[in-house]
């Protein structure tokens, strides 16, 4: 991989996609500091797992496709597996928090279903 052998617009697009994805991931990480309760904070990391990851993977697929001169779709699998596995972590975390908060009768505890 030497680079420099594809057009300027493509390079700009790759950089723009990667930067936008990184921006969403950064915003999600900021949310971990700024949001107030545990349940609110669990919303923040899904920013990097969804649009952040999608944009970075699109940038990576575009770059690899240009470098190798054929469509490279391998990275789409990363997106698929992130999408399928992230909910498991988040649901387990929120379930554990709900159980603890109800057991300790904290003020912000979720109501019974």
């Amino acid at each position: 991989m030497t680079g420099g052998d594809f057009p300027l617009w493509a390079a700009c697009l790759v950089v723009a996609l990667a930067l936008a994805g990184a921006g969403f991931a950064l915003t999600g990480s900021l949310g971990l500091i700024r949001l107030r309760t545990f349940y609110e904070r669990t919303h923040a990391p899904s920013l990097s797992a969804t649009l952040g990851a999608t944009l970075i993977l699109l940038s990576s697929m575009l770059l690899l496709s240009l470098v190798e001169g054929r469509p490279v779709l391998r990275d789409a699998l990363i997106g698929l597996f992130i999408t399928v596995t992230t909910p498991v972590t988040l649901i387990l975390l929120s379930r554990a928090a709900a159980h603890r908060d109800r057991h300790e009768k904290r003020p912000g505890a979720p109501p019974k279903t």
Binding site: T50, L51, L90
Partner: protein, 162 residues
């Protein structure tokens, strides 16, 4: 058919995954992809997975497009909420939603769909009462979220998973 391919969707997905990982496809990787698609579901039979019954594959594609659009929109909304200086004036809260959907695959897809749209978080599902407890970052205080989840996501899932 059912003896050789007990789970045709799983077989196709495995073969496609193999080909994607070993791109560009060559005759050798094609043979291995078919072998993976045939053997892994046969081994999986020991786990006795329930068969998936898809009624309307096109409705599933339409729903995927809808979720993709909602994912982008809710990402922008949540980014705006995180970056806004006013953190105290926002209402967040729990919403309890009575679901009619009982199919485990449908519920799995609903959990994934609600998780990939930041702003909604699946907290608990009670299979006895069929009620879902959802945490929303932007609580409107009325039944807006209940209607949204039921009409936008649950109804197409009920159509797809009979």
């Amino acid at each position: 058919m059912s003896r050789l391919l007990p789970h045709p969707i799983l077989s196709a997905a495995l073969a496609a995954t193999w080909l994607l990982l070993n791109a560009p496809p060559s005759p050798g990787s094609l043979v291995l992809a078919v072998a993976a698609g045939l053997t892994i579901p046969a081994v999986m039979r020991a786990l006795r997975p329930a068969p998936v019954r898809l009624r309307r594959p096109w409705a599933l594609l339409r729903l995927a497009g809808l979720v993709l659009a909602d994912m982008v929109r809710s990402n922008l909304d949540v980014a705006r909420i995180i970056l806004s200086p006013d953190q105290a004036g926002r209402r967040t809260g729990f919403v309890s939603i009575p679901l009619e959907l009982r199919d485990p695959f449908g519920l799995t897809l609903l959990a994934i769909m609600l998780t990939v749209t930041p702003g909604t978080l699946w907290v608990q599902y009670d299979s006895d009462t069929g009620r879902l407890l959802l945490h929303v970052l932007d609580d409107t205080g009325d039944d807006g979220w209940v209607r949204r989840v039921k009409e936008r996501y649950e109804r197409p899932l009920l159509e797809i998973f009979a």
